[in-house]
């Protein structure tokens, strides 16, 4: 059974060289900068957890409900202090601009793609239907703030299809099924446009140095860090538990570092935080060679699983 998935993306969350504005320029937040970062990382972590559920066995509903409630809480708090609105704004800007590395966005949001992942997944009536071109996502303006308290959608459509009396249950189930087949080919189109669903594209700004992921989703020029592998794996219907374990066995087990660093509190300024993260052996972006070998290993495992 899939166990602890470490935040591999944590390495990329605070990459070297990302320009950060000083706290004075930052819009007023509820507390020190580290709190907002912590909250954002918690949000991202939660969203990933909700996605990593498409295993062979039906996932734990209680766990999903608790994670979804946490996401909602964070979303509500972000709406209250205006962070949410700023993110949405940055998203809108980022979507029009080139899909490039961060540095353009306001603080707290190093990557527009990450905004997309967070924002979209917290939106209301976000169904897998868009994959089939029903245009649900495209029609909607990327402005979640207008409905910050709309019910969080996504994980629970999987538990529909109870007595079968509600039509939408059937649809979302179908959509779920179709999703699993289509997701391997569709998402790169969506990412190219402006949206992400099911893949949590948390694009690392060091994308270039990592090299392309060998397990291609078509001609997408974007590279994906290993963080995307788990989400995609979910859509493959029959990964063996052992293969998955192997896949994640090399994920960094130093989650305590993240805890320590992020909860350092106001003692650290923004640059300190960045420095400590980049110097921490566990969390610093791995040298290119390591990334490549990681990816090769993952590719190899993926091949085994897919049976190519």
């Amino acid at each position: 059974m899939l166990k602890s998935v470490r935040l591999k993306k944590a390495r990329t969350m605070f990459p070297k060289g990302t320009k950060r504005k000083s706290p004075e320029d930052e819009a007023p937040g509820p507390g020190p900068l580290s709190y907002s970062l912590q909250r954002q990382s918690l949000l991202d972590m939660s969203l990933i957890k909700l996605q990593l559920c498409h295993m062979l066995v039906e996932p734990d509903l209680c766990r999903s409900v608790l994670i979804a409630n946490t996401v909602r809480q964070i979303q509500e708090e972000m709406s209250e202090d205006g962070t949410w609105q700023r993110m949405a704004l940055a998203l809108a800007q980022g979507a029009q601009g080139p899909q490039g590395p961060s540095g353009l966005a306001p603080p707290l949001t190093p990557s527009p793609e990450r905004l997309v992942a967070s924002e979209l997944l917290c939106r209301s009536d976000l169904k897998p239907a868009p994959h089939r071109g029903e245009g649900g996502l495209e029609e909607r303006a990327p402005g979640a703030p207008d409905s910050p308290d709309s019910p969080y959608l996504g994980p629970f459509s999987r538990w529909e299809g109870d007595e079968g009396e509600e039509g939408e249950e059937g649809d979302s189930e179908e959509a779920d099924e179709a999703d699993s087949e289509d997701s391997l080919s569709d998402p790169e189109e969506e990412v190219r446009e402006h949206t992400v669903f099911g893949t949590f594209e948390i694009k690392p700004p060091l994308a270039e140095s990592r090299g392309p992921s060998a397990e291609n989703r078509g001609p997408s020029a974007e590279s994906r860090g290993p963080s995307v592998e788990p989400a995609r794996l979910c859509d493959i219907r029959a990964p063996s538990d052992a293969a998955l374990e192997e896949l994640f066995s090399d994920v960094d087990p130093s989650y305590y570092d993240l805890d320590t660093v992020l909860l350092q509190g106001p003692k650290m300024g923004p640059y300190d935080l960045l420095e400590s993260l980049s110097h921490s052996p566990a969390l610093s972006p791995a040298p290119t060679a390591n990334c490549r070998s990681d990816i090769n290993e993952l590719d190899h495992i993926m091949e085994i699983i897919v049976g190519s």
Partner: protein, 443 residues
Amino acid sequence: MDEDSDTRKINSSFLRDHNYATEADIISTVEFNSSGELLATGDKGGRVVVFQREQESKSQPQRRGEYNVYSTFQSHEPEFDYLKSLEIEEKINKIKWLPQQNAAYFLLSTNDKTVKLWKISERDKRPEGYNLKDEDGRIRDPSTITSLRVPVLQPMDLMVEATARRVFSNAHTYHINSISVNSDLQTFISTDDLRVNLWNLEITDRSFNIVDIKPANMEELTEVITSAEFHPQQCHTFAYSSSKGSIRLCDMREAALCDKHCKYFEEPEDPSTRSFFSEIISSISDVKFSHNGRYLMTRDYLTVKVWDLQMENKPLETYQVHDYLRGKLCSLYENDCIFDKFECVWNGSDSVIMTGSYNNFFRMFDRNTKRDVTLEASRENSKPRAILKPRKVCVGGKRRKDEISVDSLDFSKKILHTTWHPHENIIAVAATNNLYIFQDKVN
């Protein structure tokens, strides 16, 4: 109960009997039967192993009865739900014994979807001397039979057989998390994330839904049922706990559908400790009535609480299981440990409560003396017949000898399932795939 006997009970005077390694399968539930003579374990592979306490021998009165394997059977098999393209795990989630009414033993075992009633019976005699077949079972030629004889029962080697007598299936869309036998011994409830169903033990093709918290729109789901149990004496009362930290007591006489509770237990949240994890750690993983029926015990991630059934607004007692984890909640959320579902258990006299923790530690709290102890279930740290040494987790900077620091705790070694003998101080503790049975020291 005087001070000395209390001290003896919880201050490390437990001997270790046996260490059973159950074929590398992870134990998912343990349960003593109502007399304490039998101990059942269920594992992830769908098997049930039943241990029986050997009779105490007169020649060695100080050697207490030990538990030996009595019966092993495959209770559930893995299944595949073709409609949803999902596997149904064979892991045994819960086992509940029925009180013994004749020579056979009965237990209910359940996986995520199906409850089964198993009959465990002994066979130590077999009939011999048939007329129409000989001893090997071959049919005799009737023309060679000249006289009739009456078959007699001859002793044979003891054989313990387990047969599935009832299968209660197709009543749960969501995963069953608990079962509970009613004190009327005729009905039982099975509970999944959103519903509680009432069954008659004799009828397998029909069950009554008595609690349903499924919202009309699943996307509005914010709360699930985590556990449910019948009151030990009142056959019309049951309680169920939720992922939001509340317990509802329901009376089945009020209405057919018990969505309306008659008592609602919840402790208001302490605003000073509020965090994004507050709700998750308040989720109740287990609820148990006391044997006397006056109290309820609940286990959430960091505490065990004892509630007086007459007082709904706050618990009577709160015990910190591993408060040193409070500063690690973010990591524990990341590695999913925060979702671990620990069980809790009363001793026979309701004076001591026990629950598990990480690093193969388990904790006992004496409700009268307010003393507590941390013990460890591991082969390395205790030899058979040795007295368990109390353990301590060091939270501050200075670590004393024999203390273990929070960062050294092994979170993969968790004790989720424990059970206490109904009358004596014998406990069974499941540590991953090992079962530990501890007994009180005999002076």
